[in-house]
């Protein structure tokens, strides 16, 4: 959904259009769940917080001031819910492999590593390797402190730029950058622990400058 469409629907909602908000929430639910799931690592808790977040969005729309994109604001609401929840829990969640890897193999979410390992089909080894990497990274991600985890989720899994991340986390861009580097270093360290061995590094993967910021 484009930012313009978002604002059109918001305006329609404020003008009493009963279907406008439904269309907006429909477009946000997947993203909000993704944020919650990656932050919490637990599908049940993520579902709870997704619902809470969507309700908070509905209830707080009057306070949306338009300074950021509506979608950024929605992610901010979801992220605040997650961080608040994690602060209360004050535990580090370590997800099992099954929690991190979806059992749906329709190409939308993930693959069941166990099935792939057993399939023996051609190309399975490449899928397995990629799934292993994803799984290890997600485990490593889940072992990080919530603030570092939030940064990486927003940057890599949601594609936000530095400014948007700053708006979500309410920190300056400079702080986003310095914390992001440390979060990446922490992820690398945690991933090495999970993987046990270093990955093969290919300098050709660098390519041309492809900034996303």
């Amino acid at each position: 959904m484009t930012p313009l469409r978002e604002l059109q629907l918001l305006e329609a909602h404020r003008n009493g259009d009963p279907g406008a908000m439904g269309e907006l929430m429909q477009s946000y639910q997947r993203r909000v769940f993704s944020v919650c799931y990656r932050m919490l690592g637990n599908p049940d808790e993520a579902a709870d917080l997704t619902q809470d977040s969507l309700v908070k969005v509905l209830e707080g729309l009057d306070s949306y001031n338009g300074r950021s994109k509506l979608s950024t604001w929605v992610i901010r609401v979801a992220m605040n819910c997650c961080l608040s929840h994690l602060r209360r829990e004050k535990i580090r969640k370590h997800c099992s492999l099954d929690d991190l890897v979806s059992t749906d193999s329709d190409g939308g979410g993930g693959v069941n590593l166990g099935n792939l390992l057993e399939s023996g089909e051609p190309g399975a080894s490449e899928h397995v390797q990629r799934a292993e990497v994803h799984s290890s990274l997600l485990k490593a991600l889940n072992s990080l402190d919530p603030d570092s985890r939030a940064l990486l989720i927003l940057r890599d899994l949601n594609g936000l730029d530095y400014l948007q991340i700053g708006e979500v986390l309410d920190v300056p861009v400079g702080t986003v950058k310095s914390r992001l580097f440390r979060a990446r270093a922490a992820l690398r360290e945690a991933a090495e622990y999970e993987l046990g061995t270093d990955l093969d590094v290919s300098e050709s993967s660098l390519g041309e400058g492809t900034g996303t910021g």
Partner: protein, 337 residues
């Protein structure tokens, strides 16, 4: 790992990993990194991590959330009287399921209270709390019929939801008000570590304004800021109508979170309950025992091992089950007195 990069410009390294450098800048930085092969390897692996992370697909939705929030979509102008939030409904359902699995004794039990004796005693908080309890000591042997009916009134969800408007500023600062059920309200006072004294007072006043009118059974307040906890105990709790207030102190000074529970004696008819609030040790509960059994509190006994705190796992479960326990306190333990 941070030590690896001390000799390099962190901003440049980040730009490199994020793919924001042009090829010439990349080559320049890689040449510099040759002086530290470990750092170079780590940076290149971080580049790989970034690419891998960006290729991770979104998780599948476990359900249609639109159906869950339909009441809010259908009646946006009536948010003040909306039903309990769906997320909380799911939590209540899971809680109800867990309650059936608990031993019968636990279902009728009272929360065990522990104090971290050294810190609380040295800060005088124990005395503050007990002074509050003693100061509210009613006449003994007050018949139930003379107890203020406000004490027994049920707070429904719509009342609590409406109250949330009053502390909107508090919520925007990071504090969160939850209702765990019709009779238990909790206030999360995290993220206030950087408040100055004036703001702390404002936070407490805002919380009091919202919570004071609630004749709820229990308030469950968490905070990780020592001064705020102290203010909560001294300034907020005494002015509330709640039957019980539970303050969980997550201050970093404590090795584990500590609960302090204050129960208003006005609803008790037994003279013994007007004595100072006591911590009761229970030989069945061990620090490492995650399946802790909560025993009815025996009033009048002396303080026991004040260094005993519930394990973190139990605290987590306790947070989830807080509503059920406080309800049990009211319905079973208090009625038995």
């Amino acid at each position: 790992m941070q030590d690896l990069f001390e000799q390099f410009d962190e901003a440049q390294l980040l730009a490199f990993v994020e793919g924001e450098l042009d090829p010439k800048q990349q080559r320049t930085l890689l040449t510099r990194l040759e002086s530290n092969p470990q750092a170079k390897k780590a940076i290149l692996l971080m580049c790989d991590d970034r690419e891998s992370m960006r290729s991770i697909a979104d998780p599948e939705l476990p359900c249609d959330f639109m159906a869950q929030i339909e009441p809010w979509l259908a009646r946006p102008m009536l948010l003040e009287t909306s039903p309990a939030k769906p997320g909380e409904m799911r939590r209540k359902q899971r809680r109800a399921l867990r309650q059936k699995q608990w031993p019968r004794m636990a279902a009728a039990a009272v929360l065990l209270l522990v104090l971290s004796g050294g810190i609380w005693a040295s800060s005088g908080l124990i005395m503050d709390g007990l002074t509050w309890v003693a100061g509210n000591t009613p006449e003994t042997d007050t018949p139930d019929s003379q107890i203020d009916s406000r004490d027994r009134r049920v707070v429904d969800d719509s009342t609590v939801v409406a109250m949330e408007d009053q502390i909107q500023a508090l919520i925007e600062e990071g504090g969160v008000l939850h209702h765990h059920g019709p009779e238990v309200v909790s206030l999360d006072l995290y993220a206030f570590a950087d408040l100055n004294e004036v703001d702390e007072t404002q936070v407490i006043e805002s919380a009091e304004e919202a919570m004071a009118p609630l004749p709820s059974l229990a308030l469950f307040i968490e905070a990780d800021h020592e001064a705020l906890v102290e203010k909560t105990l001294r300034d907020l709790i005494p002015d509330l109508q709640a039957q019980m207030a539970i303050v969980r102190n997550y201050s970093p000074r404590l090795s584990e979170p500590a609960n302090v529970v204050f129960r208003r004696p006005t609803i008790n008819t037994n003279a013994r309950t007007t004595k100072r609030f006591q911590v009761v040790p229970n030989e069945h509960i061990a620090r490492s025992d995650a399946d802790r059994i909560y025993q009815p509190m025996k009033l009048g006994e002396s303080d026991g091992d004040s260094s005993l705190c519930p394990s973190r796992k139990t605290q987590t479960r306790y947070a989830d089950m807080g509503a059920s326990h406080t309800l049990s306190v009211r319905q079973s333990h208090l009625n038995d007195i």
